[in-house]
């Protein structure tokens, strides 16, 4: 920890200057990139003429640079240009072609990544809320509650998520049309959060039970009720202990989200597979895996921060 105000001021200044320089450079690139008309004019006219009605054009603007691809759908021939800093760079051959492909794929991959992230976050958050009740139910001494929660956890941990998802989406409407969940994202969210709830319940139960029994005894000696003990003593301490396994659950769920291709929901894996089949190459798996790693890195960082923050109790 840096407690000297002067040196921390200096550090802030340095960060600010670096940021301004980077922003200025980006702004300069953004201002000097060729506009859409100019870059369109550089495309091969023979290709456009040959293609006729089968002509397809893809244009993407990435703020600091843009890219355009002309395609003749009859012959699958393409002509691609990247526009950056006033130049139009042709990327039709070799490594540059691969790079151009990857850039063209990025918007679709990002849309897929958006679905994956939203589904993971929503499912784990809902699962966590659900799991608090399940965990308390499982350590409860009231028989029916205990039995129900144990059975729930047994079922959702013990059967494959793929089957649960399939059942929620295709099975429920066959039992009774009133149970039909027609929104794919909603169906995936329900299946994933029910499943995540079971896993998180075990994490929370383990965290609560890892607090020494003596603390319960001490609290009751001090005259605290059960709910007060839980709220004021036990749960604040267990939060720190459950952050690492919850982070783990998050990352597991991020990858389990790829199961949604079974219900035709276009997550990152599904988008990757369909690009791979339409381009008949597996190159797209490389940027896709990098995106997965970036998401995981972001989550790992956030949970690392949280862990530090909650360590004050220890």
């Amino acid at each position: 920890m840096d407690r000297n105000p002067k040196s921390s001021n200096k550090k802030l200044k340095r960060v600010a200057i670096t940021l301004i320089v980077i922003l200025a450079a980006l702004a300069a690139l953004a201002l000097t990139k060729p506009d859409r008309e100019t870059i369109t004019a550089s495309l091969s006219t023979t290709l456009i003429e040959n293609a006729g009605s089968k002509y397809a054009e893809t244009y993407n603007d990435f703020f600091v640079f843009n890219i355009i691809r002309a395609k003749d759908s009859n012959t699958a021939e393409t002509d691609t240009y990247i526009g950056i800093a006033g130049n139009m760079v042709n990327v039709n051959t070799g490594f540059m072609k691969t790079l151009g492909n990857v850039i063209i794929w990025i918007p679709a991959l990002m849309r897929g990544a958006g679905v994956t992230i939203q589904l993971t976050m929503a499912a784990v958050c809902a699962g966590l809320v659900l799991s608090v009740f399940l965990a308390l139910g499982k350590i409860s001494k009231i028989k029916p509650i205990n039995r129900f929660c144990s059975a729930y956890i047994f079922f959702f941990r013990g059967s494959p998520l793929l089957m649960q998802l399939f059942f929620v989406y295709y099975g429920l409407p066959q039992l009774n049309p009133a149970f039909a969940i027609n929104d794919k994202f909603l169906a995936a969210f329900i299946a994933f959060s029910l499943n995540s709830g079971a896993y998180c319940a075990e994490i929370i139960r383990a965290a609560i039970q890892s607090i020494e029994k003596g603390q319960f005894e001490a609290s009751s000696v001090l005259g605290l009720s059960y709910s007060q003990t839980m709220r004021l003593i036990i749960i604040p301490q267990s939060i720190r202990r459950l952050i690492p396994p919850v982070a783990n659950e998050f990352i597991m769920m991020l990858k389990d989200a790829s199961l949604v291709s079974i219900i035709a929901l276009a997550d990152l894996t599904q988008v990757t597979r369909s690009i791979s089949s339409s381009s008949s190459s597996v190159v797209v798996y490389i940027p896709a895996m990098i995106i997965y790693l970036l998401i995981t890195a972001l989550f790992t960082f956030i949970f690392g921060r949280l862990e530090k923050r909650f360590s004050v109790y220890q």
Partner: protein, 269 residues
């Protein structure tokens, strides 16, 4: 004496090498049984089971049935072989051919120029068109353009996928796409009104229409379009395996002549 010993050893070594080489060539020709099979006497067939009426599991969930399954058996019988079906995900079915997981693919594979570059095909055994299927009682879609603004389902990486993708890319059609792993699930969702239409092979559509009469209807078929060319299905073998290709073509011709191929088609379509 020493010299003689050396000579004898050398001769023995030479003989050994010769015999190994001879053994190798013998096994090579033996296992190929002259028609380029992976295992002697067995025709290993790759297919994605779950594409009615071509390949699907019977109600017991373990017996593969369908047009392609029957065709595979008929061909094997013609060639005096037994069949071994290898159920494979459609995603990667062609890669399996390259790495010798099976001898051939009989799985409603459309012959197109792109696939022809990567593998060899037998003569076509069926004709097929793209078709739009909707649920009975919902508005009919009578052209590809009619899909505009609708939610359309199709199986990933099929000719239906390619056909629609091209129209979307060139801006002729603007619809919401739903890519399924299995064509079965397209129809599941159509039945539940989750999607408005399914784009699939006309043969597949006809199979559904005949098995569940009155539920679905075909409202557009590619053959109505002027100048449309039929898609044809063929059996795919590894590029360059001409022995097997010739054997399969021979068997197909015989089945065609004897009318058995027609019977199989009539059974399922």
């Amino acid at each position: 004496m020493k010299k003689l010993m050396k000579l004898a050893t050398a001769a023995a070594c030479f003989a050994l090498v010769l015999s190994i080489a001879a053994g190798c060539s013998a096994t090579a020709s033996g296992s190929a049984s002259n028609i380029g099979l992976l295992t002697d006497g067995v025709l290993k067939v790759g297919c994605e089971i779950g594409y009615p009426p071509f390949e699907l599991y019977d109600d017991d969930g373990t017996t593969p049935i369908g047009l392609d399954v029957e065709l595979g058996k008929a061909i094997a019988k013609e060639l005096g072989l037994t069949t071994q079906l290898e159920d494979t995900a459609w995603d990667g079915i062609f890669a399996g051919l390259d790495v010798d997981k099976y001898d051939c693919i009989i799985s409603a594979v459309t012959i197109d120029a792109e696939r022809r570059e990567k593998m060899d095909f037998t003569q076509p055994y069926i004709e097929n068109w793209q078709a739009i299927v909707v649920k009975t009682g919902t508005p009919a879609v009578t052209s590809m353009k009619g899909l505009d603004g609708l939610s359309v389902g199709y199986q990933d990486a099929t000719t239906s996928d390619d056909y629609l993708a091209e129209l979307i890319e060139t801006g002729e059609v603007a619809c919401k796409v739903n890519e399924y792993d299995k064509v079965l699930n397209c129809f599941d969702d159509l039945r539940l009104n989750r999607i408005n239409a399914v784009l699939c092979d006309s043969t597949v559509a006809n199979g559904y229409l005949s098995r569940e009469p009155g539920v679905f209807e075909i409202t557009w078929i590619q053959s109505d379009e002027p100048g449309a060319v039929a898609e044809v299905f063929g059996i795919a073998v590894k590029k360059g395996n001409t022995k097997l290709l010739d054997a399969l073509n021979g068997a197909l011709r015989k089945l065609e002549e004897s009318g058995e191929l027609d019977n199989i088609r009539k059974n399922w379509l």
